[in-house]
């Protein structure tokens, strides 16, 4: 794709006196991390494809405060929340979609008590609705019959009880969906949550992402599907560590759908 993506901002909408149907909350990883940016773009393409009227906050977006809160810095978290809520409420946002389960959890569960009440969806949930409404086509294409396993992000799965939306989408791709021995409610963390992403692990005999990657490799899948930019990084590192990057890809559910549609 040569041309740049069209990504409208809330400020632009405001200037035209319009309101989008949904705000796409990109998140820090989705904005800055090279791997996660690809997921962001894939998701934007899907939004365009489905004709969704959306906007992003762009430079007005700031970290939700999730890593700060989970590291124990409630102050910083609430400062971030207050700032973000001011912006979101200023634009009278009603509905938010995000490709990051950490942002999803924080916006959905922790902002309401601080004055931020929105309908918040994870991108896999949103894509599933688009699919159900017939706005988005999800079909096999190049992934048809491929062996794929899905790694449950803790903050989508256990934390919020959503196990089926990403799996439903994958089934629509007509892949051979195989489960790891630890999945859904019992899924093993990738090792990034709770601020671990930003620090060295404590002494132990293995890294968590290696353990989880081993479980994924046991399924002999060609693709490890993820639904979180941090899980994606951890699993990608794990696959590299096992020198399997030539045979096993780590991809976000949104990327799989976009690629299947050749977007």
């Amino acid at each position: 794709m040569a041309e740049a993506l069209k990504v409208p901002t809330m400020a632009e909408y405001m200037a035209e006196g319009k309101k989008p149907e949904v705000l796409f909350w990109v998140g820090c990883a989705g904005s800055f991390d090279d791997r996660a940016k690809k997921i962001t773009k894939a998701f934007v393409k899907l939004l365009h494809e489905a004709g969704v009227d959306f906007a992003v906050l762009g430079t007005e977006e700031s970290c939700t405060g999730d890593p700060a809160k989970r590291a124990g810095n409630e102050f910083l978290f609430q400062m971030q929340a207050a700032t973000n809520i001011e912006v979101l409420n200023g634009y009278e946002i009603k509905k938010v979609v995000t490709a990051c389960p950490h942002c999803f959890n924080t916006l959905k569960n922790e902002y309401p008590a601080l004055g931020g009440n929105y309908e918040v969806m994870h991108h896999t949930q949103f894509l599933k609705t688009l699919l159900n409404e017939g706005k988005l086509k999800v079909e096999g294409g190049k992934f048809k019959g491929k062996r794929i396993t899905f790694h449950d992000p803790c903050y989508l799965g256990r934390a919020n009880g959503e196990y089926e939306a990403p799996r439903d989408l994958l089934r629509k791709l007509e892949v051979e969906l195989v489960e790891m021995r630890k999945c859904k409610k019992n899924g093993l963390c990738c090792g990034a949550g709770g601020g671990q992403m930003f620090k060295e692990p404590e002494p132990g005999n293995k890294d968590v992402n290696i353990e989880r990657t081993e479980q994924a490799l046991e399924t002999e899948s060609e693709i490890i599907a993820a639904g979180c930019p941090f899980c994606n990084t951890m699993m990608t590192d794990g696959v590299k560590n096992k020198e399997k990057e030539d045979s096993v890809a780590v991809m976000d559910v949104a990327e799989l759908i976009a690629e299947a549609e050749d977007l």
């Binding site: 041309e3 740049a4 990504v7 901002t9 820090c28 989705g30 904005s31 800055f32 940016k37 962001t40 773009k41 992003v56 762009g58 430079t59 977006e61 700031s62 970290c63 890593p67 700060a68 989970r70 590291a71 124990g72 810095n73 409630e74 102050f75 910083l76 609430q78 400062m79 971030q80 207050a82 001011e86 959890n105 959905k108 569960n109 922790e110 601080l114 803790c154 256990r158 934390a159 919020n160 019992n186 093993l188 963390c189 090792g191 949550g193 709770g194 601020g195 992403m197 930003f198 620090k199 060295e200 692990p201 404590e202 002494p203 132990g204 005999n205 293995k206 968590v208 290696i210 353990e211």
Partner: protein
Amino acid sequence: MQILAQILFVIALVAGIGFFARNIKRVIRNIKLGREIDRSDRSNERFAKMARVAMGQSKMVKRPFAGFLHIIVYVGFIIINIEVLEIIIDGIFGTHRIFSFLGGFYNVLIFSFEILAFLVLVGVIIFWTRRNISHIQRFLARELKGWPKNDANYILYFEMVLMILFLTMNAADYQLQLNGADHYASEAGIMGSFPISQYLLPWMEGLSNSTLIFIERIAWWLHILGILFFLNYLYYSKHLHIILAFPNVYLSKLNPMGELNNLESVKKEVELMMDPNADPFAAPAEGEEDEEPEKFGASDIFDLNQVQLLNAYTCTECGRCTSECPANQTGKKLSPRKIMMDTRDRVEEVGEIINKNGKFEDDGKKLLDDYILREELWACTTCNACVEACPVGIDPLSIIVDMRRYLVMEESAAPNELAIAMTNIENNGAPWPYNQMDRLNWAQEK
């Protein structure tokens, strides 16, 4: 002679129950050392969850073998308690099998008690081998060395002995009834049905009635004294869960697992900071001057809330949490079970000081560092696997987060890289050192 036995029985009963009441009062007093927390909402949902998880043991069966055995022991325990009721009434009034007027139904009851007692015996023996012979990881962890391991075994021995006494008592009783002994035999025929203890009869047959009465009485007394002793052992043991599991599940968190509470104390300060009209140098409002600023997070049990302390007393030390913990699985020091055991040990230590002095006097120790290490706290990924795994609704993660809050907000003691990430969030709105103004650059990148 008979009346003396009745008096002795009543004394034992009153002492046993009285001592138990004192212990329970202590548990309640100790739990109240924690901060108050309101869980009086959504009572229907809470009852439903209690029925499902505590009564219905829904999480126990996630591990089918251990879960199945546990259900046998649990059902056996509850049902056999009906028999204890009869034993107590017989003991007080000097009667023999007072419920036998129930006739056929009584036979069914005794029949099922015997079957259950046997199954419990088998279950408990398997539990013992699992703990002591078949190297099961979660029973070998460092936090189980010493007392916790002994505690677990004592409970199992206890249950074995109680069940054997119960069956022996029934066997001797049955033989006495067959012999037509006074006080035991009844015109109406044999009272009770003895599917298991009948197999003990070959040992009873040749014995004289007085020997049989002696055996029956000894077994009867040891059985009931054993139960009274066991009742009082609970307080010192992980076995307290047989009572506390119910309130604990009832009071457990109903909100999505991912939701952490928002600290109210912080909320006030942030509101003040964000409010352009607030005067940061204003004198504190009337009556607020001498209030000590609220402490953020937890460094000792006093800073935890009452549900967290109840959690600690409820913990069965089963280790299901720890065996699911990603940090523990990869060899880190963190073990959510240990977090709960440490919390209980510290509450007990504080409770002992209060027992001695009438009030708490600083002993120079606290939960942080003296029990729970920083290294443990920082290894947590907040994945909630421990919370999901716990069969009795315990939330070890909430304690970990509260202690991290203390470390970060009171001591500024976050690991260095985390501190940097937080500074980045503060300055650029992202955990990495990127400029917030570049946040939309990805849209232009090809």
